[in-house]
Symmetry: C2
Subunit: 154 residues, 2 copies
């Protein structure tokens, strides 16, 4: 495959998410995009690690994108670690210094700062991992059987 | 979409799996195909229910397909309930009378017999649900970013 002619995701944030997902997979983490852990919350990327670690990564393409985010602190109770993912041009000094930081582009990423670990309690962890599994499996099923989405009305 | 012209899965077992997956989704279960719960084991369909129930469904297209299966009892420790899925022409009297039974075709399915419930212990359940999540997310990522599968060598 010629990587120079591949199709990139349309939105800058999605391109960052793709690079982060690739890098995390190389670290043994699987990821899903646009997961809703609770009504009204939608995280850019949720990752599940080889030991069951749950990470949330918010991808910010520019200063305005970051400054418009009023919800990020609400994501903290749904993960063991929280990260921002930004590209090399992002003014990183805007970001809270005590949260995780990933430097990314569409092709890969690097974890620059881990940030604190705040482990999920058992019941919450169980619910989050089940939610992750359901989200991933439903999207996969919609792709492998698109006609099935309307089977109930066919 | 015209369901009469849609492409059916190539293998009879896969067509049954598709119908079962559709019916289970209508019951609130998400599914993945061809999951490997442990080395040397590969289940046709694993389902995760709204309350975290784990079901395994083996799809048998004909008598020979069933009689060639020497492994099905090894699947029992990996699920809360086990089911056979067969079509209306299958000689159902061949199947163990105390296991679950689903009548299926490529378009849907019906649970005919539930079979016994043997709940997974906590640690095993946690591992199975995490394995389900990883399997689904990895397959989904391979579909949404096929070039990423070779990113490490590009």
């Amino acid at each position: 495959m010629d990587l120079n002619t591949e199709i990139l995701p349309a939105m800058p944030g999605q391109r960052l998410a793709r690079g982060v997902a690739r890098a995390l997979r190389d670290m043994g983490f699987v990821t899903v995009e646009e997961l809703v852990p609770a009504p009204g919350l939608r995280v850019d990327l949720m990752a599940l690690g080889p030991k069951g670690q749950v990470w949330v990564i918010e991808c910010k393409s520019c200063r305005a994108d970051f400054q418009a985010d009023r919800k990020w602190q609400n994501y903290l109770p749904w993960c063991d670690r929280f990260f921002w993912a930004v590209d090399a041009d992002f003014p990183a000094e805007l970001l809270p210094p005590d949260s995780g930081l990933i430097l990314a582009d569409a092709y890969g990423a690097e974890v620059v700062r881990m940030g604190p670990e705040t482990p999920l309690a058992g019941a919450r962890r169980k619910a989050v991992v089940q939610g992750f599994a359901r989200h991933a499996a439903l999207r996969l099923q919609a792709l492998r059987d698109p006609a099935g989405a309307i089977s109930a009305w066919a």
